[in-house]
Amino acid sequence: MSLAAILVLAAGTYAFRVAGPLLRDRLTLPDRVKELMATAATVLLVALVATSSLTSGREFAGWALPAGVLVGGLAAWRKAPFVVVVLLAGATTAGLRLAGVS
């Protein structure tokens, strides 16, 4: 990675990030639109969860990874503390891998 490439990636990423906050300063948005944007962020986050749990590159990630996320998700659903959710997910996946499940 050249320094120039890093700077371009950094500038482009920052442009994506700063656009929303600056636009929201200038626009008065109806509540319906604000609500839609919050929903959009949730939709993106769930899609991130789905793809990063089930796929690695363009392929199926194997069973250990989604199993860990599922265990963490179930713990969260049962109102387990956040730290427990994170630890359970990691420990499940790590344990399965240790046991030879990829």
């Binding site: 990675m1 320094l3 120039a4 490439a5 890093i6 990636l9 950094a10 482009g12 990423t13 920052y14 994506f16 990030r17 700063v18 656009a19 929303g20 906050p21 600056l22 929201r24 509540d31 604000k34 609500e35 839609l36 944007m37 919050a38 929903t39 959009a40 962020a41 949730t42 939709v43 993106l44 986050l45 769930v46 899609a47 991130l48 969860v49 789905a50 990063s52 749990s53 089930l54 796929t55 363009r58 392929e59 250990a64 860990g68 963490g72 998700g73 969260a76 109102k79 956040f82 730290v83 959710v85 994170v86 359970l88 997910a89 990691g90 420990a91 499940t92 790590a94 344990g95 891998r97």
Partner: protein, 232 residues
Amino acid sequence: MRSIWRTHDTDLLRDVAAIAAAAAVNGASFGAISVAGGLQWWVPLVMSVLVFAGGSQFMAVGVVAAGGSPAAAVLAGLVLNARHLPFGLAVGHVLGRGLAARLVGSHLMVDESVAFSLAQRDPARARTAFWACGVTLFLGWNLGVVAGSLVGQGIGDPGAFGLDAAFPAALLALVLPALKDTATLRAALLGAVVALATTPLLPAGVPVLLALVGLVATAGRKKTGRKKEVAA
């Protein structure tokens, strides 16, 4: 996770610290991989401070290590980071009033800080959660990168610790409350199916953006049920 809405600030800090600790280990792995790929020790650090988007950093370094051009690496990273635009539209108002808060806060906008702030009902708490998560993650990730760059190959594979499961599980826990709204749940499920179906076909980052078509599932919703507060 409902408990987050009730938590005190110490609880918030503990939750945020858990994510930052995981990010530090991940950052160490990034530093080690970068140095192993032939970069000087300070290059991954400069990249992490300036870009501060782990997925795109791993991707860019990976593209170059696999023989790709820097232009291809930058493009792949930017596609992956395009989701920050809709994130910013969703949480832009929680960063703070002044221009400085907007400009600095924008740099701290990552998946986790967005998810932490969306999980709060109260706007003031959403701001605290965003900044606490953003600053802590920034420190954890960058300190991890420095350590990994210096120690190098001694760092193990983060997959062995199940870190790749910890991050999606954390995000899932944070979005669960919002999914109690039926229309949001339908949109999210449809979006996830679209993202998964297109992942084998499209460059990384694009499938997640395509998930936004799931929003059609919210069209014509009558009642919003329980909604997050979306203060101006």
